[in-house]
Point group: C2
Chain length 173, copies 2
Amino acid sequence: MRLFLEQGFDATTMEQIARAAGISRRSLFRYFSTKEDIVLGHLVEAGLAVKDALEARAVSEPPWEALRAALEALALDPQYSPERTLGIAKMLYGTPSLRASHFEKQLRWQELLVPNIQLRLGAATGDGPDPRAQAIVACALTCLDVATETWTRSDGEGDLGQLFDQAVAAVRG
Amino acid sequence: MRLFLEQGFDATTMEQIARAAGISRRSLFRYFSTKEDIVLGHLVEAGLAVKDALEARAVSEPPWEALRAALEALALDPQYSPERTLGIAKMLYGTPSLRASHFEKQLRWQELLVPNIQLRLGAATGDGPDPRAQAIVACALTCLDVATETWTRSDGEGDLGQLFDQAVAAVRG
DNA sequence: CCATAATTGTCACTAAGTGTCAATATCGGC
DNA sequence: GCCGATATTGACACTTAGTGACAATTATGG
């Protein structure tokens, strides 16, 4: 991550990363199957945290309220300092290949969250996922993405939760 | 496209495509800067059609209604037969790298459509895009994506416009 | 201490994408 | 039709991501 932030994502080679980590290039590829995974790998775990938070909410709670509450789980991950988070976010939104992988991660979050939303809608679980649940989860994550991008563009000004609420209000208002 | 549909996206090399097109590999890269562009390139033009359709609607019309009407512009593009469209869609949703690029295309559509939605919200145009307009456009395109994926998974059964309406209803209901 | 299994490194390879420069085609003026 | 300027194309070499195969090294357990 240090090399990425210093030199940019594309300008940093796997060779350099391997050298900095004191391992061979081949071993690096065993830990991270793609370069994008080095940046985005930890986001899969974050998705699991959101899933757990969502499943901890009462099933009687409406989908949007439950999702809003579950996404708060992201805020209390103190893994990175604010300026580091901002640097990573700027790289993420400024690097096409990373942005694309970021969407892929979003898809995996979607798969994790859809079953629970489906429960809240009282839908039958057979015959593939319910499009309504998919639409709700996908749009909630889209709102989170819009909020995060706005937050990033303004250099970390404002509250992310509030930006998310504004996005949701615009969509559902 | 024929080679992609016959062999799959990843299994088809730029060398093969160049040979089939009767040009050199280097020239192929001049027409399409990435392999994904060969599949998704034409979608940028489709975005322009949606933009034009959106701008043709009265500005007094609410955002969601205008977007719903503008997206109809996609349906009347008779460029591809239904089964060909289905084949392409299946490849798109089944190939990770294509799926990612597809999202990138969605971002470009977003940029095209946001200014008009911003007008409808009566927002000031200065100081970057309005997050509310971004959220609305992004979620509309997300609903279109969910609808398209559902349509693809069911082998082209059902009406895409209807699936879109159902997705929107679930989100805004 | 040794046999076995897991991890790592080395080497070779495919394929995407880029830079350079010469060859070839295209086009406007005469 | 001819010619000089201008795009377009091809050939070649190169970097880098990612993969496969196999040897070397390092735990691990009895």
